[in-house]
């Protein structure tokens, strides 16, 4: 029993008179890693936040399959918030909020720290970690929650290639474990590496959606072609 597919039904986000996103009608299914592409201001982050429930739709609906969907998803932000406590306590925090039994917490924390390569730093205060370590901690924090769906909002925008690679490996491992990945990025190489399918947003609406290889080789729309060639203004 999964919380997917996620259905957006004529969903709109607006601020005052400005429509920022939508109307969007789309379905996100279990399985493929979905990468959302688009120029700045296309509404990528907004779409993730809408799906994740951080902002409400101004009109339309966001529907998950089944009850209790929120507790079975997680999100990694571009700039993760590091709680002012140890690395281990940061991972434990999310488990505490979701009322995971105490006996179950320790093994999950240990597994998450190991998966993110943070076990040696477990007792370090989280705010002093480097940007790459912080993002890995953000991933360890969601790893421990074992989400069915993970949203990532430009998770490597501030990271060097080495740290980016580390983040991608963790995301891959999560996906291999059955977690649905929905992410945004501005890094086209990363998109080519990670994407199974691409949703191309422009001006708040889906311009094109399709299998990743096809999207990058033969985009179907002039806008997407222009975007991939780096000549899309806005």
């Amino acid at each position: 029993m999964t919380i997917l597919p996620l259905m957006l039904d004529e969903a709109v986000v607006s601020a005052g008179a400005h429509r920022l996103l939508g109307p969007l009608t789309l379905s996100l299914d279990a399985g493929p890693r979905t990468v959302i592409l688009g120029p700045n201001g296309a509404g990528k982050s907004l779409l993730l936040r809408l799906c994740h429930g951080l902002i409400p739709p101004s009109a339309g609906r966001v529907r998950w399959h089944g009850a209790d969907a929120f507790r079975r998803q997680a999100m990694v932000f571009q700039q993760p918030v590091m709680l002012r406590r140890s690395v281990r306590a940061n991972v434990a925090y999310g488990l505490g909020l979701r009322a995971v039994a105490r006996a179950e917490r320790e093994p999950r924390i240990a597994a998450a720290l190991a998966a993110a390569g943070l076990a040696p730093l477990a007792d370090r205060p989280a705010p002093v970690l480097s940007a790459g370590e912080q993002q890995r901690l953000a991933l360890a924090r969601v790893w421990a929650l074992a989400p069915e769906v993970l949203f990532l909002d430009e998770p490597t925008a501030n990271l060097d290639p080495g740290a980016t690679g580390a983040v991608e490996r963790i995301v891959d491992a999560l996906h291999a474990g059955g977690c649905k990945i929905i992410m945004t990025t501005h890094d086209m190489n990363q998109a080519r590496r990670l994407a199974d399918e691409v949703i191309f947003l422009h001006g708040g609406v889906v311009v094109e959606r399709g299998e990743a290889a096809r999207f990058f080789d033969r985009p179907q729309t002039e806008t997407a072609t222009a975007f991939l060639e780096g000549r899309l203004l806005w």
């Binding site: 951080l54 929120f70 002012r84």
Partner: protein, 273 residues
């Protein structure tokens, strides 16, 4: 030698010999002000955090009120409590007037708004950065209150010390509700006022010196506490990832499931970079 000089020497002697009356007064002062600060922190810190987290009608008005109450005149608080606690007053049956308990209440009333307003300022800023992350992890508002209080603990110590400074230096309210009764409700500030008017400068000066030392000590402690040391202050500024936009309306989640949500619908836009 001037009168001041003589008095100063006497004052130092009182301190050096741990004069019984002096010690008693200092101890009572600290007991009263510490009790008041504990009470005020127990109310003010959660209040400040709750006002930073919860969205409810009248929140802004409450913030304005708390800020205004920071400047509450001590004599006014003393007067109101006097009226309430006096034998004919509504709380007269408690028999608290002219007791240390009344003084604790007076100081707590004075500094609770200070602690609440200052902690609200600290925590509101912190919460701006935390809100989406905590919400995403599944925190309810009450969880967020606890998290903010813990994560801002260093700043909040400074806030509580500001409250203690104000409580221990205050004279008007404790004079009115305490009555400055020897061996019962006489504290440093009221003694200084009394002894000065009697011309007994030595005891007044000795107490003044100690009061000054307490104030300096409190502020030094606040300065020494590493508010911006590694491990507490290194964080990406929330201002860098936020773009204020007009309202998008109330969150369905805040209504339905009691999850965290900013009723003001502030959108964080990650697209900007």
């Amino acid at each position: 030698m001037s009168e001041l000089g003589t008095a100063s020497i006497l004052a130092l002697r009182l301190i050096a010999t741990l004069d019984a009356e002096l010690v008693e007064i200092v101890a009572r002062s600290l007991a009263v002000s510490l009790s008041a600060v504990v009470l005020a922190a127990a109310v003010g810190l959660p209040l400040g955090a709750a006002v930073a987290v919860y969205r409810f009608p009248g929140r802004r008005a409450l913030v304005v009120l708390l800020n205004a109450l920071m400047g509450l005149p001590p004599v006014f608080v003393g007067l109101m409590l006097y009226v309430l606690l006096s034998r004919a007053g509504p709380l007269g049956f408690l028999g608290l007037l002219f007791t240390p308990t009344a003084m604790v209440i007076a100081q707590a009333v004075l500094i609770t708004p200070i602690i609440a307003a200052l902690s609200h300022r600290v925590l509101r800023d912190l919460y701006e950065g935390y809100r989406e992350q905590l919400c995403s992890l599944g925190a309810r508002p009450w969880d967020a209150v606890g998290t903010l209080l813990w994560d801002a603990r260093v700043s909040l110590v400074t806030v509580v010390m500001a409250g203690f400074g104000r409580a221990s230096a205050e004279v008007g309210a404790v004079l009115i509700v305490g009555g400055n009764i020897a061996h019962l409700t006489r504290v440093m500030t009221t003694t200084i006022a009394l002894e000065t008017s009697k011309g007994n400068l030595a005891l007044a000066l000795a107490l003044g010196l100690i009061l000054l030392l307490v104030a300096v000590g409190v502020n030094a402690a606040a300065a020494v506490i590493p508010g911006f040391a590694p491990g507490t202050g290194v964080r990406f500024g929330p201002a860098a990832q936020r773009l204020d936009r007009p309202s998008v309306g109330r969150s369905r989640l805040s209504d339905g499931e009691g999850r965290l949500s900013d009723g003001e619908g502030r959108l964080s836009d990650g697209e900007g970079r």
